[in-house]
Symmetry: C2
Subunit: 342 residues, 2 copies
Amino acid sequence: MNVHEPEHAPERRLVTLSDVARAAGVGESTVSRVLRNQGSFSKRTQDRVAEAVARLGYVPNRLAGMLAGSGTTAGAKLVGIIIPSLTNIVFPDLLRGANAALDRDGFQSVIGVSDYDPEREEALIGALLSWRPAGLIVTGLEHTAGAVARLRASGIRIVEMIDTDGAGLDIVVGFSNRSVGRDSARHLLGRGYRRIGYVGHDIGRDLRAAKRLAGFCETLSEAGHPLAEREIAPGPSSAAAGRAALERLLARRPDLDAVYFSNDDMALGGYFHCLAQRIAVPGRLALFGFNALDIAAAMPQPLTTIRTPRLEIGAVAAERLGADGPPEVIDLGYELIPGATA
Amino acid sequence: MNVHEPEHAPERRLVTLSDVARAAGVGESTVSRVLRNQGSFSKRTQDRVAEAVARLGYVPNRLAGMLAGSGTTAGAKLVGIIIPSLTNIVFPDLLRGANAALDRDGFQSVIGVSDYDPEREEALIGALLSWRPAGLIVTGLEHTAGAVARLRASGIRIVEMIDTDGAGLDIVVGFSNRSVGRDSARHLLGRGYRRIGYVGHDIGRDLRAAKRLAGFCETLSEAGHPLAEREIAPGPSSAAAGRAALERLLARRPDLDAVYFSNDDMALGGYFHCLAQRIAVPGRLALFGFNALDIAAAMPQPLTTIRTPRLEIGAVAAERLGADGPPEVIDLGYELIPGATA
DNA sequence: AATCAGATTGGCAGCGCTGCCAACGCCTGT
DNA sequence: ACAGGCGTTGGCAGCGCTGCCAATCTGATT
């Protein structure tokens, strides 16, 4: 059976609120009140409206509702979320956390994916603002000047998530990536590693990874054991990229005793390289990741990595969007997972 | 600086189209035409409008636009997408594919996540329909009766993606999961494996995995080597779940010579178990996955698995949403990747 | 100079719903 | 019996934008 309406069909008008009102024998505003369970009405009215809604198969038109309700407090039950990527499981995790909190408060979300492109982010901000959301959740602190101007002009709550290293516009929820890098370096140094390399992915785009690396290098240098070598894979992070990049890195510097990866995906690839080349981990080479993916814990040797509160960041971001109050920075921290690879 | 508007502020009204019209010294409909680049207008008018828009920082109100434009052809440039989960990378991939195609055609998407819960899917369908989208993309062919009724009543294009094993409502884009199961079994049988087990995740919810298993079992039985044993991990698929489940499975049936996993995540966990227990793969135990994740190819021994056209499914689903035409089933097929584990 | 097709433009009625307010009952209290 | 209070209810003006149509302007044609 075809659900699609053929072109020549008599353009069946959809059921509207006023149809329901007529069918139930009550006024439009009464139906509206019953449907939103707001204001007062009798049980009898409620039943009649419910019956009419069910019988006619009425579906409220949220566009009209939001338009009419705009300007008022209860207006927009909608938020926009912009993330840089869907390929990295980190961002779906943030979405899950945010969605859970949003659902609870009866909010809908509209999502945009920027592909790590600041220009595209700016365009998305415009697109999402045109939905007149109650608030916007964006990723990171770095935006184009145009994007910042739009965000400022919107007058709505803005939450920047994941990163706390820098100045935020309004609410900032996340952790310090720089500090993650420093702690990672400290851990490796503490375990006696001295000839340390780095394997990362396209760092010009993933600014958070760049900040981790910066913090990592700082601490290494301060300790007198500066980063020995680095290998940056072009494109997004992946196990395949990590494996290939580690191979190239070791070809140039076979003497390394530890490698810091931009994240667990890359580290897992590195681990696979070690398995394939029979490089003892961590005896011959230590591996350190970032993100504490589920997969990292399932490895024969659990990966040494850093757990980030992804779901929580999403949840807190969503919660704050609804609240009012002054701008603030909420640092949710992170946790170093010792593992067995470093 | 605070972007958030304090409560007591004089409720700055946002710039509207009529503000722009006044500022540019033209009529409202002229501004509307220029902004949508539709109809005809002079270069001079266009410049004046553009200037006014920039000066006032005008952001069109899509709610109003869609409401006004509803009923007409060009009305809704919006589609709804419902996926069961964000944890499994498969679904973000579908989204990416769909988003790419949607962007190209100037569509926006609203996304809902059902958590593999049919009731929740029904609720989401209602929520998304209330946006009056031009079409809806849903996952799988199984829906509650209520959901089917709503979809039918909506009168819009419906695309059901991923699965072609069953009757669709309108457009169906995907591949046969049952057939995937059969081909997987055929491959294992062809390589001489005879004592074959299965490791899966919560199959009551992931209906596609159940179909693959059904096809798999059929072929095994037809060949006279029925499935020897199965182990179902509760909850969603993950490497950790796969690893633990394989361990339990082998505890009961140490004599198995091959295991079919519900997907690559689970298979990767199984592989880790084998590494940790020094079980030779595929000599002592063969492993077979599903989905051809990037990670499967990066393993020391590439995983034997099945590549599914995820991006393409998303893209085709999005494309078809815009086109009219009769209902149809589009089978995009899949490809068996031999790998080195089976 | 009058005419006419085509390009440009503005006015205005909705799209479907919500907020506001006046209008009802109906039940106390005096 | 009447005023007052409260729970209910309906009417109606928008929300900001688009579609439609008539008005105006342009230049070329007869």
